[in-house]
Symmetry: C2
Subunit: 318 residues, 2 copies
Amino acid sequence: MKTVVVGGGSWGTAFARLLADRGHDVTLACRDPEQARAIAEEQRNPRYLPNVSLHGIPGTTIEEAPLEAAELAVLAVPSRAFGGVVRSLRGRCPVLSLTKGLDPESGNRLSTLVRGRPVAVLSGPNMAEEVADGLPSAAVIASEDAGLGRELQEAINSLIFRVYVNSDLVGVELCAAAKNVIGLAAGGVDGLGLGDNAKAALITRGLVEMARLGEACGGRPETFSGLAGMGDLVVTCWSRHGRNRHAGELIARGASPERAAAEIGQVVEGLTTAPVLRDLSHRLGIELPITEGVCRILGGDDLSDLVGSLMGRRPTAE
Amino acid sequence: MKTVVVGGGSWGTAFARLLADRGHDVTLACRDPEQARAIAEEQRNPRYLPNVSLHGIPGTTIEEAPLEAAELAVLAVPSRAFGGVVRSLRGRCPVLSLTKGLDPESGNRLSTLVRGRPVAVLSGPNMAEEVADGLPSAAVIASEDAGLGRELQEAINSLIFRVYVNSDLVGVELCAAAKNVIGLAAGGVDGLGLGDNAKAALITRGLVEMARLGEACGGRPETFSGLAGMGDLVVTCWSRHGRNRHAGELIARGASPERAAAEIGQVVEGLTTAPVLRDLSHRLGIELPITEGVCRILGGDDLSDLVGSLMGRRPTAE
């Protein structure tokens, strides 16, 4: 399958490698011309996952990518850039989104920004570093076009990357967006040194919050217990590779959100998504207490006050 | 509340401290007279959590514990010993079980072994080491006696140990038993170096398996998404304190189950529970593929063959 992967971050890079190893004809297109040139010259991505060989995967810009001839465009760009990139795509091939977030301008799911083409999303516990190392992973592909979902499953599934189809596009996209915000909060627990018990309790309530949001938007509860929900949430909150977790840890130790993002040096989607989700929850009339708390901390509130007020609430039924 | 905590392992020790700090009159009763004497003399438990002061908490044997005068007996003994200990209890006070497992002889839930007294169970993501260090935790108390549940919630809840009541005794007990078996499997993933993505996928399918078992036994699905289910599962599978996870890691690296248990030096409940759960699933006619896999590995099968066969299955819907 002739594929253009758009986005030269760590996940775009690892996914391009995964597709090429599965026998597909893959081009890696970057928004940054400098990065495109470096990949084309060095046959690796000097900025992200520099140890992964991109031999056989040409690097180029979006403008020069062979999109008219492509059978699939994979988008692995930050949520902030997704709308602009999708509007700039030439050709008519289907889009597979790897981006985990919402459109910051409208609060809409990213797949709704794709017009006039079939669209699917891929999500799950897929830390790019491990996928690039050839370690086994599992993911879901969700699409309203069941034929596209099965076709992509067939094209991508392998012994080291198991792909399940899921028809709940809404649920999968909301899980992917919301888990990063819970990841920031989990990092806060780490940064304060509150321990694994506290983090597990937070994650448990975080999944309840994610499912509440998802159901209010029309997602299915099972999705939140699946790979894109619980699966991705636990790896986001516990893996040493988790950027959102790491950012939360740095912020809890006193860094500003900007400083934390700069130190991590990659996009920290939860920082963008938290206020978008909060606004969405207000429009929907539902409560997302962890997301509200994250937004207050990002706005400068004191984290230890927040923890104290959570633990001091009246004891209730679960 | 006059309380006897029976069981001088790490959780019994930490819980005795927690209750005493909450103002209760606590005695710590050990099955082993040597350990009882050591605790009485040293005012700490030299074997488990030796840094935790047990000042004000007398150590004694079960035979000499003030059970007739007690208002609550807390049982924190291995599942293998639970039936014998409960039959040996004098007095008529309610029992709160902290033990996570099933009765190995009958396959029954442990609370069903308590006859002629009110019974409740406490479960959740509560690594003893962290509770002993005063780090915040949350737990659920489940009982068919709603009054007892609320009374214990009131007696135990504090700013650092939040207690929720849950009326689903069946679900809470099955979660507590099954999560240790999934913890062994998660340790196997660690031991083979398969990475966090694979572990997250395993945990996700593990929770599905736990919920299937729980529903077949009459438990409620929400319980499996709550603190006793997902919450305890993730801390069991990810915390460095997780004994079952650690045992699975050692076994995956070539240790026998006996050797792994000896190296850990504390009870590894998953080793006892795995075959009990497998037999239960056969009687119920439900499939528990991870538990079956754990039983095969404990029986001497090769772990890498099992992983290969799982990843090589036909791709399906989630």
